[in-house]
Structures are given as structure tokens and as C-alpha cells.
């Protein structure tokens, strides 16, 4: 049974049909990529999966349970977390604090424990801090935990966003153009990190334009164009699928 | 029944006064999403300018004209000197709010200085230019009628400028999306300053009309009436011109009816009671547009 199953999900803004009855699935431990030209509806699909938009029709199931009517908070609690296409970090907070905010959903001690610094607070806060440091070290930001998030270079900020998503103990991580703005060395380092995540049992859905990253790391690829699913399959099949190439290069498409 | 009609008539006159001031708040809020706390003190400044020019033997008409222009310039200066640098530095919105509070301190207390007008209340020439009109035993003062008429003319002129002129188009564009407007060649800073200028003029007109009706002015006159007019602007849906007018009339009439039946000291906070009720039911006011925030 697939970890995540989308059945003919549709999203309509007034007259505009942004996503038109798209279906796809992701199995546990897989890395699936979602590609397509700009404006194909990729980020809209992410927003539908994470509850930012309430889908017009169709159904989404995660671990067998329906999630398309749940609030974003409930969806994160069930184990799906995400990064953003245009970087939404907490700029004036330190890197480690950004990741600690990620651990918020798993924090058990309450407001009064924090206020009175009870042993329960001390124990759990230490655990959370260590977990955050471990995540940051594993992604290569071990020495930058005290930096302000807004002071970091672009590539590092991307990594902090990923670290923050991991900190929510999510099972499924949605990465929205993580390699955008990264130089080749950084995207190579990112590939290594994503593989490491997969080895640790995370399932990943990737939106990416850098074909080098996509072809190299994806187990399966779905291709979206103008809100419709036009192709899916293994990387090599997609690489020479005429429809995909045309969708990217533009030009007439026979109806 | 008659007292009810009386209350409604008084409410309409008072409401039109609020509308006049609310328009200024609404225009500035529309363009900048900013509560301009200094607007109330510019309203007082306008009234004092008229008082001053009349006291140096300038005719009533010319005193009003000069006061309107001076208030417009003052409002523009406030924007140019205090608010524009903040916009250039993209500083946090709270900084602009506090700046307007600071400016209102400066203007209000500046008027009350010993060397200027002192804090004592002053008499103001009446605008009862022609005898009152009697309906039954309800008297409608001529200054009420003048206030109504001039207010309608002013609002017509303002909505003509906003809706029909080129500068009006760029005002509406800046209101929708300042960045996009500036990309289209609209000099947004000029438009914002012009909006402040219009706001200042409308405040001076309001100051003249209302002071002509009550025939008394004081440096702090802008405080309470300013807050109530702002509540009216929000009730009507801030950023929308006719919203301010309807909001002003609603607040004015409800306030007078409340004063009539619940006692007069309920009247000041009544504007806020209406405000909170409406904000909870319709967060953007009666006619406000729902802003869709894109992810």
C-alpha cells in the first residue's frame, strides 16, 4: 500500500483550473520527483498536499488515512513537512532556533514547565537541542548554529529549511526546488544529503528544475504541464519522452 | 417619534462631520495601510489657521482657502519628512505608526504653546449664515445644512479625482500594489504625498465646518473626534471613499440615538462598540474589499 496516494485531485481558483484531476502515489523510502515547466502547478500540488489550499475535488490519503480536509497543523502532525519555493525562514532567529521551532510539534512539556524550568523542561529541552545539533551537523551546518538565518548564504539557508522540516520527525518530506540558487558543488553536497535521508528511511517528493539532480537521484518521476499529468515513469523513460521534451521546449502540441 | 427623527437629523449632521474626517484617514490607509494618527491634529491645525487669519482681519472665505492649502502642505510635509524616509528604509510598519503618534504630539502641543495659541479654548465664527429652517418644532441650523452641502461637494470632488483623473488612477494603482505601480512608471512617492495633501485639505475643510457648527475650538479638539472618525472609516470599510461616508453617517446616527435613549455619556465609546461588532462580523468593514494574500 502506497505511503501517499493522490486520486484525481483538482484545484480551481475561480475560472482558472490550476490542477486538473492529477493522480500519483509515493511508496515508503522512495524519492519521487515532480517536474514540469514554470506555472505547471507543481507548487500548487504541494500546497494541496499540505493543506494550504482545500482541494476542489479528489482525495489524498497518507498511510491510508484521508488528509485532504485536514488543517496544515494536523497534516504536519501526521508526518508530512515541507520547504518553500521562496525560502520562508525565521530571519531574525538563529539557525538552531529555526530548527528548534521545527521540533515544536513534538514538544510535550507545556507552557508552565517552560516558565518554571521544571526538570521535565530541562530534560526535553536538552534532547531537542541535541537533536537539532545532530540534524545541522549531518547537513554540514554544525559550525553555523549561532548565525542569524538571514545572514547565511543562499545555499545554507536552503539547508536550514530542510533541517527544519526534518526536525518535525516527518516521514514524508516535500522539497520545493531545494537546489535552486545552489552552485554545482552545493547541489552535489545536497544530493549526498538527500540520499542519506533516504537511507535513514525518509520518503521524499522533490520539485526541481536542475535535471542533473532530478535524473541522478529520483526513483520515479511525474511530469506536470498546465495542471495535467502528461507523463510518469523511471528517469531514463522520462528523459527521452517526446511529450516531456516538447512541454519543456514549448512548441505546438497536437491535440 | 419626533425626538427619534430629531436624533436622526442631528445624527446625520454629526455623521457628515465624521465622514469628512474619515475620508482623510481612509485615503491614507488605502495607499499606505497606515493609521495616520496625526490626521486629528491636522484637523485642529486647519481650524486654528482659519481662526488666526480671521483674527488678522482676512475675510472668512479667504481665511478658509489659505487654511485648506496650509493644512494640505503640512500633511505633505509630514509625509515627506517623517514617513517617506521610513519607506525608503523599508522599516517595520510599527515605526510609521509611532511616527504619526509623535507628529500628533508635536502639532497638538505646538498649537497649545504659550507663544502660539495657548491651551485655552477659543470662540470660532459661526457658519449660521442664513436663518434656521423649522419643520414642526424641529429646527435645522443653517450651519448643519452648509456642512451637509459642502461635505457632499467635497466628497464628489474627491471621488472625481480618485476615479476619473490620471492622478486618481495612479492613486488606485499604488493602493493595489505599490511595487507594481512603480514598475509601471508611477512615481509612488509623489502619489502618496499628493494623497496626504488631499487628506490635509479635507481635514481643514472638516475643521472649518465643524468648528463653524460648534463655534468653539481647542488644541486637543482633534483627539476624540479623530478616533471616532477613524472608527467610522473602518466601519464603512477603510480605503473605500463612499465607505467612509456611510460609516460616518452610521456612527453619527447610532451615536445620537444612543445619546437620546441611553444617556449622553455613552456616546463617545458608542463609535467603538459599533466598530468592534462590525469588525467581528465583517472584518473588512461594510464595503471593504477582502484582500487575498498569495502564498
Amino acid at each position: 500500500m502506497a505511503l501517499l496516494q493522490a486520486k484525481e485531485i483538482t484545484m480551481q481558483f475561480g475560472g482558472l483550473l490550476a490542477v486538473d484531476s492529477v493522480s500519483f502515489h509515493v511508496d515508503k523510502g522512495e524519492i519521487v520527483s515532480l517536474i514540469g515547466p514554470n506555472g505547471a502547478g507543481k507548487t500548487t500540488v504541494f500546497n494541496m498536499l499540505t493543506g494550504v489550499y482545500e482541494i476542489t475535488s479528489g482525495a489524498i490519503e497518507f498511510e491510508g488515512k484521508e488528509i485532504h480536509r485536514k488543517t496544515p497543523q494536523e497534516i504536519v502532525d501526521m508526518g508530512i513537512s515541507r520547504t518553500f519555493q521562496n525560502l520562508r525562514l525565521f530571519g531574525k532567529m538563529r539557525v538552531i532556533e529555526n530548527v528548534l521551532v521545527g521540533t515544536h510539534i513534538r514538544t510535550k512539556y507545556n507552557f508552565f514547565d517552560g516558565l518554571l524550568r521544571t526538570p521535565r523542561y530541562q530534560k526535553e529541552e536538552a534532547e531537542k537541542t541535541l537533536k537539532a545539533i545532530d540534524i545541522l551537523e549531518s547537513i554540514g551546518l554544525g559550525d553555523k548554529i549561532n548565525e542569524l538565518a538571514s545572514n547565511l548564504p543562499y545555499g545554507d539557508q536552503r539547508k536550514v529549511e530542510i533541517a527544519r522540516a526534518i526536525a518535525t520527525d516527518a516521514k514524508l518530506i516535500l522539497l520545493d526546488e531545494p537546489a535552486a540558487g545552489m552552485n554545482p558543488a552545493e547541489s552535489e553536497e545536497l544530493l549526498r544529503f538527500i540520499r542519506e535521508l533516504r537511507d535513514k528511511g525518509y520518503t521524499i517528493i522533490l520539485i526541481e528544475h536542475d535535471m542533473g539532480v532530478v535524473m541522478n537521484i529520483s526513483d520515479r518521476i511525474y511530469v506536470l504541464d498546465h495542471g495535467k499529468m502528461i507523463a510518469n515513469g523511471l528517469p531514463r523513460e522520462i528523459a527521452n519522452n517526446p511529450q516531456v521534451i516538447e512541454a519543456y521546449l514549448g512548441g505546438k502540441r497536437e491535440k | 417619534m419626533e425626538t427619534f427623527i430629531g436624533a436622526v437629523i442631528n445624527g446625520l449632521a454629526l455623521g457628515m462631520a465624521y465622514a469628512l474626517i474619515a475620508v482623510g484617514y481612509s485615503m491614507v490607509f488605502g495607499v499606505l495601510r497606515l493609521i495616520n494618527f496625526a490626521h486629528g491634529s491636522i484637523y485642529a491645525f486647519g481650524a486654528y489657521m482659519v481662526y488666526f487669519f480671521i483674527s488678522i482681519q482676512v475675510g472668512l472665505f479667504w481665511s478658509i482657502m489659505i487654511a485648506i492649502v496650509l493644512s494640505g502642505i503640512l500633511a505633505m510635509l509630514v509625509d515627506k519628512l517623517a514617513l517617506e524616509p521610513l519607506r525608503k528604509k523599508q522599516s517595520i510598519p510599527i515605526a510609521s505608526l509611532i511616527t504619526t503618534v509623535g507628529v500628533s504630539f508635536i502639532i497638538q502641543n505646538g498649537l497649545a504653546l504659550e507663544q502660539v495659541f495657548t491651551s485655552e479654548k477659543k470662540g470660532f465664527p459661526s457658519l449660521n449664515l442664513f436663518p434656521n429652517i423649522m419643520i414642526g418644532n424641529l429646527t435645522i441650523q443653517s450651519s448643519q445644512i452648509i456642512m451637509f452641502a459642502v461635505a457632499l461637494v467635497l466628497l464628489a470632488v474627491l471621488s472625481y479625482i480618485v476615479n476619473k483623473t490620471k492622478i486618481g488612477l495612479s492613486m488606485r494603482a499604488t493602493e493595489q500594489n505599490a511595487r507594481a505601480a512603480s514598475l509601471m512608471g508611477v512615481n509612488t512617492n509623489f502619489v502618496i504625498s499628493f494623497t496626504f495633501f488631499l487628506g490635509g485639505c479635507s481635514a481643514a475643510i472638516a475643521g472649518t465646518l465643524i468648528s463653524g457648527y460648534y463655534q468653539i475650538i481647542s488644541p486637543t479638539m482633534g483627539a476624540t473626534i479623530g478616533l471616532k472618525a477613524f472608527a467610522a472609516a473602518v466601519v464603512g470599510g477603510i480605503g473605500v471613499l463612499y465607505g467612509s461616508v456611510v460609516g460616518g453617517l452610521v456612527v453619527g446616527v447610532v451615536e445620537c440615538i444612543a445619546a437620546q435613549y441611553l444617556g449622553s455619556n455613552v456616546r463617545d465609546p458608542m463609535a467603538f462598540v459599533i466598530l468592534i461588532l462590525i469588525l467581528i462580523i465583517k472584518p473588512n468593514g461594510l464595503f471593504g474589499k477582502k484582500g487575498v494574500s498569495k502564498v
Binding site: 494550504v52 497543523q73 504536519v76 502532525d77 518553500f84 520562508r88 525562514l89 525565521f90 531574525k92 532567529m93 532556533e97 528548534l100 521551532v101 515544536h104 510539534i105 507552557f111 514547565d113 517552560g114 516558565l115 518554571l116 524550568r117 523542561y121 530541562q122 530534560k123 529541552e125 536538552a126 541535541l130 549561532n146 518535525t168 | 495601510r33 493609521i35 517623517a82 521610513l86 528604509k89 522599516s91 510599527i94 509611532i98 511616527t99 503618534v101 509623535g102 507628529v103 504630539f105 508635536i106 497638538q108 502641543n109 505646538g110 504653546l113 483627539a223 478616533l227 477613524f230 455619556n265 455613552v266 463617545d268 465609546p269 467603538f272 466598530l275 468592534i276 469588525l279 467581528i280 472584518p283
Partner: protein, 346 residues
């Protein structure tokens, strides 16, 4: 908004204070406690008490404005609710001062909760307008509900706090220690709230509410929490105000001007910081006295100060971004040290 170069000049100062914080705090603690014995004049004592009270009020509003970024222009309403609730309970129902004060703070917190609920669907500016309305409505209730609040006559002879038979008044310095202790406890509470899960969550909501939602934070619940905590602290400060006002309070002590004063403490001192509250409060209390000779000009200059401050130091006098490394919890530091040792042994 990029931090200016001036930051590095503050860094050594901050690390100095951080390094010697234990001796420094003992020195300060001893000095503050000893003030009544150092022959401070009654005026200086009263100034200090007012500074601590307004620092508390600033800290209360700071939870809402500094942490979660909501501007309130009606905080004098909570200040009044705290003062009147404890005054009524102690004078008409004979409660002790202490239980009256706690009750005052709780009633203010409850009303903070009620005010927080419906208004949280509103974005920043509209919420500010509603808090403005809240302050005016509280005033109306105080003036009209004569059977309970005694209307404009105000409430007289409110009892003074008593500890084991010793009356803590302004004249015998007892109240000075009480306010000193109370404001320090509030400061520590604000510090622990800020540096815990709740504090980080509030600041995250201020930085980017959508990102916070996507991290699973129930933003509405935490905004209400901020309202309640802010109202509690402001109400608590209100309960102690009557002692400073010779056991008498009236509606005019809580008019709109006081909401602006509390806001100025937070803005001028430095939003989001606790040290800023003390500085903002000291500046606000001493400004009118030091510049008394200016008379009417004081307010014009005060307005100018606000405008200039927003131009050149919007983050407030002490609002600099801390340059110190993140304070790791003790146990985490211990675990990391052990890990380090384990690595070097291999």
C-alpha cells in the same frame, strides 16, 4: 532591514556583561536593595518605584508587541481592570491585598482571553483598532457602573499590602522592595517564557506566520496565549498602582494617554528585549522631570524624540540583535562535552 556597523561596538559590551554577569548582578542586586538605606530622597524612591511599575507594564505589552508583533493601543484597559478588580475586592469584600492582586491579574487575563478570541481573525492594523476601542469601552464602564466602581468618585482608602504585620508603604521603603522583587520576578518570567518552546513559537509567528503554520504551530492558540500572558502581567501591575496613588484610584488614571505611555516604554526601550523595558521606563519617567523647566515644550520635544527615534533607531535604544552564541541548556552542554571527550579518546 540590515543591522548597521554599530553592532560590533556593542558586541564587546555585551560579552563583557555576559562574562561577569554573576558579580555584576550581585553588585546591582545589593545596590538596589540598599537604596532605601543610602538616604535616597523620597522623590528618588518614588521615581524608582514608578520606573519598576512601568517596566512591568512594558514587559506585559512586550509579550504581545515584542514577541508576537501585535500592536495594542488599549493596554491601559487591562491596567485599569487589574487596579479596579483588586480595589473593589479589598475595599468592599475585605480580601487581603495579595489575593486581591492575584484576582485582579486573573480577571485581566480572562478579559484578555475574551478580547483575544474574536479579534484573532483580524490582521494587525484592524486588531490595533479593536484594542483602541477596548480601552475606551473599559473607561466607559468604569465611569457608568457606579454601583460597583463608584464612577468618577473613584475608590478610596484601598488597603496597603501587609507582610507578617509589617505594612509595606512607600514611606517606609517596604513597597519599594515589593515592587523591586515583583518586577524582577516578572523579568525572569518573561526571560524564561522567551527562551522556551512557547517564546520561540511566538517569535516564529511574528517572523512568518505562514511558515509557522506549516511547522504545525496552532497560531491562533498561541496569539491568544500571548494576549492572556500580556493581560495578566499588565493587570498585576495595575493591582499595585493604588499603593503608589495613596490608596485612591479613579477612571482618569487609565485614560488613552496611558496606553500610549506603555507603548512608548516598549518602543523607545527596545521591542522584544527585557532590558529595554527598564531603560524605556526610566527614560519615560525621568524625561518630564528633567525637562520640567521646558513646560509646554516638553510634549513637543517628546513627540520629536519619538519621530527621530523611529528614523534612526527603530529597534529602540537597547534593541540590538544579540551577538552572544545561543545559550545551550546545561544538560545539552554536558552531553556535548562528553561526546567531545569520547571522540578524542578514540
Amino acid at each position: 532591514m540590515k543591522e548597521k556597523k554599530s553592532l560590533n561596538l556593542l558586541a564587546p559590551f555585551e560579552s563583557f556583561v555576559d562574562k561577569f554577569k554573576v558579580p555584576l548582578s550581585i553588585l546591582v542586586g545589593a545596590f538596589l536593595i540598599a537604596v532605601p538605606f543610602l538616604g535616597a530622597s523620597r522623590v528618588a524612591m518614588r521615581n524608582l518605584v514608578m520606573i519598576f511599575l512601568y517596566a512591568m507594564l512594558g514587559m506585559g505589552l512586550n509579550v504581545l508587541l515584542g514577541y508576537v508583533g501585535q500592536v495594542s493601543l488599549g493596554h491601559a484597559g487591562f491596567y485599569a481592570i487589574g487596579a479596579y478588580t483588586s480595589a473593589i475586592l479589598t475595599t468592599t469584600y475585605g480580601w487581603s491585598f495579595w489575593t486581591g492582586a492575584i484576582a485582579g491579574a486573573c480577571v485581566a487575563a480572562l478579559i484578555g482571553f475574551l478580547l483575544g478570541l474574536p479579534t484573532l481573525r483580524l490582521s494587525g492594523t484592524y486588531l490595533t483598532i479593536v484594542t483602541l476601542g477596548f480601552g475606551e469601552i473599559v473607561l466607559m464602564v468604569l465611569r457608568q457602573w457606579e454601583s460597583v466602581t463608584n464612577g468618577n468618585y473613584g475608590i478610596r482608602s484601598i488597603p496597603v499590602p501587609e507582610l507578617f504585620g509589617w505594612e509595606l508603604t512607600l514611606s517606609n521603603g517596604g513597597f519599594y522592595w515589593l515592587i523591586l522583587f515583583l518586577s524582577t520576578v516578572t523579568a525572569i518570567a518573561c526571560y524564561t517564557i522567551k527562551n522556551s518552546n512557547a517564546g520561540r513559537t511566538l517569535i516564529a509567528i511574528k517572523e512568518d506566520e505562514l511558515a509557522a503554520t506549516m511547522m504545525g504551530i496552532k497560531t491562533t492558540r498561541y496569539k491568544i496565549l500571548a494576549f492572556v500572558v500580556s493581560a495578566f502581567i499588565t493587570g498585576l501591575a495595575g493591582a499595585y498602582y493604588s499603593v503608589i496613588n495613596n490608596g485612591y484610584i479613579e477612571p482618569n488614571n487609565f485614560v488613552f494617554n496611558y496606553s500610549i505611555q506603555i507603548l512608548s516604554v516598549v518602543i523607545v526601550g527596545g521591542m522584544g528585549t527585557i532590558r529595554g523595558m527598564y531603560f524605556g521606563s526610566a527614560l519615560l519617567m525621568m524625561f518630564p522631570q528633567v525637562f520640567r523647566f521646558l513646560n509646554q515644550w516638553r510634549f513637543v520635544i517628546y513627540g520629536l524624540l519619538l519621530v527621530l527615534m523611529m528614523q534612526f533607531r527603530p529597534q529602540g535604544a537597547l534593541g540590538w540583535q544579540s551577538t552572544l552564541p545561543y545559550k545551550l541548556p546545561r544538560r545539552a552542554k554536558k552531553a556535548l562535552a562528553e561526546r567531545e571527550k569520547a571522540k578524542t579518546v578514540q
